[in-house]
């Protein structure tokens, strides 16, 4: 049996690779520090790279993450029974009938409102048109109640644009890329909406609570005319959100005597954690007389769509 020399021992290749050096993990650290310092000094430099990365990385990953759920929805749709579909069709027909009646009432109200505003010499009338957008992803950070929609600057989306769903105000756009728009919902603690009580006209500011199911109205004195069940609508003050859209319903009003103000909890009207389709609102100045003249006739199938559609309007879901 021969004994190996020390020189020969050193030539033997190690079976296991050396463990990674801790210092190697400092390379990303340096890049992180550069990025953070860059953001602190020049935040505007990050807008374009972020938009690019959102379009080319975040959007595909969101699509992959959503794919199993979408596949499940598709399968569910395929296997839905004929009886169920007939039942759903009948329910939709009934709903359509009720909504058409409401639209007819609304048309009269719009005409009357226009005439009153004319009498008051209102300087402008505003007509809203919408683009339908689909939910792409929710913010993975549970502290940020934000959603990403599949419409971007290519569709005319702009920062500050109000967003609605079929039940009420959702929020506004805070960032756009070419194909996506990030929306800050009204429930986020960084958001505040000027509102008023539809019944009494009392104005206030509704602040997000950080929870999807409640927003708060602060700084209302105990003598304020507000009751549980009151409908809260946007007041239009501040110019960001248009007036008259439902924001929520007053859930509870607390006053313990130790505070100078009421604590009003509002349940948002918008289905913030359920809706998949949203409306991006575009505002166009319109001639009030023209609106009065184009008020829908009874039996009109789609009277709610304005007569003069802007080029960006797309009523069909993507």
């Amino acid at each position: 049996m021969s004994v190996q020399s020390p020189a020969r021992n050193t030539a033997i290749k190690p079976i296991f690779r050396q463990s990674a050096s801790a210092a190697r993990s400092l390379i990303p650290l340096l890049l992180a520090l550069v990025l953070i310092a860059g953001f602190a000094l020049r935040p505007e430099w990050f807008a374009v790279p972020r938009a690019f990365l959102n379009d080319h990385i975040a959007r595909p990953v969101s699509w992959v993450s959503n794919a199993p759920l979408q596949a499940w929805d598709w399968l569910e749709e395929q296997f839905r029974s004929r009886a169920e579909l007939i039942e759903q069709k009948q329910a939709l027909e009934h709903e359509n009938l009720i909504l058409q009646r409401k639209v007819l009432q609304m048309a009269n109200l719009i005409a009357e409102n226009s005439r009153l505003k004319e009498l008051l010499n209102a300087t402008e009338m505003v007509e809203d048109s919408v683009v339908v957008a689909e939910l792409l992803s929710l913010s993975p950070d549970p502290r940020r109640l934000e959603i990403t929609l599949n419409r971007g600057s290519a569709d005319g989306t702009f920062i500050g644009q109000p967003v609605l769903d079929d039940a009420g105000l959702v929020g506004h756009v805070i960032e756009t890329s070419h194909h996506t728009a990030r929306v800050l919902t009204i429930a986020d603690s960084n958001n505040a909406v000027p509102v008023q009580v539809a019944r009494s006209g009392v104005r206030g500011i509704a602040e997000g609570s950080g929870r999807l199911d409640e927003i708060h109205i602060r700084n209302l004195v105990p003598t304020t005319d507000i009751l549980a069940g009151d409908i809260i609508v946007s007041s239009g003050l501040g110019g960001r959100y248009p007036a008259g859209y439902p924001v929520g319903v007053v859930d509870s009003i607390d006053y313990d005597g130790s505070d100078a103000f009421l604590r009003v909890v509002v349940r948002p009207s918008a289905k913030l954690n359920q809706s998949k389709l949203f409306l991006l609102l575009f505002r166009e100045e319109a001639n009030p007389l023209a609106e009065t003249l184009t008020a829908p006739a009874p039996g009109d199938n789609d009277p709610a769509i304005p007569a003069s559609e802007p080029p960006t309007t797309d009523e069909s879901p993507p």
């Binding site: 190697r24 650290l29 890049l31 520090l33 975040a58 993450s65 993975p140 950070d141």
Partner: protein
């Protein structure tokens, strides 16, 4: 080879889990599985998680989290990885209790680094620390670690050869 594949698959699965569409209330209690998987491989077989992997993971999380700034996750993961690699020589010799404590410390390090870096962005100024995520991560680690170890041993070349 099999272990390398397992590392990649586990990271991919954790990434999909992390960004699975979910109610924010549930997400608040969701453990940071991507961090846990990353820590496991850093502490067990660090040569499979190189600096480029860390760089990619950190940047990807910054992009997918859709905050305004890039860097907080990258900073947090690189500092945590540095601490993990310093701890590693002793970690493999420690008992499970001490290993659990060090994993808790590393997860806390990640959480705090990320939170403090995010505070540079004004939109995070009034956001609370995600302590619930850390808590669930801490509670799940004693289950997660043996499960991962079982997977690792099942695919290790030595065991396969025997």
């Amino acid at each position: 080879m099999k272990t390398a594949l397992l590392v990649r698959l586990s990271l991919l699965a954790a990434l999909i889990w992390q960004y699975w569409p979910m109610d924010p209330l549930w997400r608040l209690w969701l453990p940071d599985l991507l961090l846990m998987v990353c820590l496991y491989w850093l502490l067990r077989t660090p040569h499979f998680i190189g600096s480029w992997t860390l760089l990619g993971l950190g940047l990807l999380r910054d992009i997918l989290d859709q905050g305004n700034m890039l860097g907080p996750h990258l900073l947090a993961i690189s500092l945590t990885a540095y601490a993990a690699l310093l701890l590693r020589p002793n970690f493999v010799r420690w008992n499970l209790g001490r290993q659990w404590l060090s994993a808790c410390g590393l997860m806390l390090c990640y959480l705090l680094c990320c939170h403090w870096a995010q505070l540079l962005d004004a939109s995070y100024a009034n956001k609370p620390l995600l302590s619930q995520q850390w808590l669930t991560g801490v509670l799940l680690w004693p289950l997660f670690y043996p499960l991962m170890r079982w997977g690792e041993e099942a695919t290790s070349p030595i065991r396969s050869a025997s």
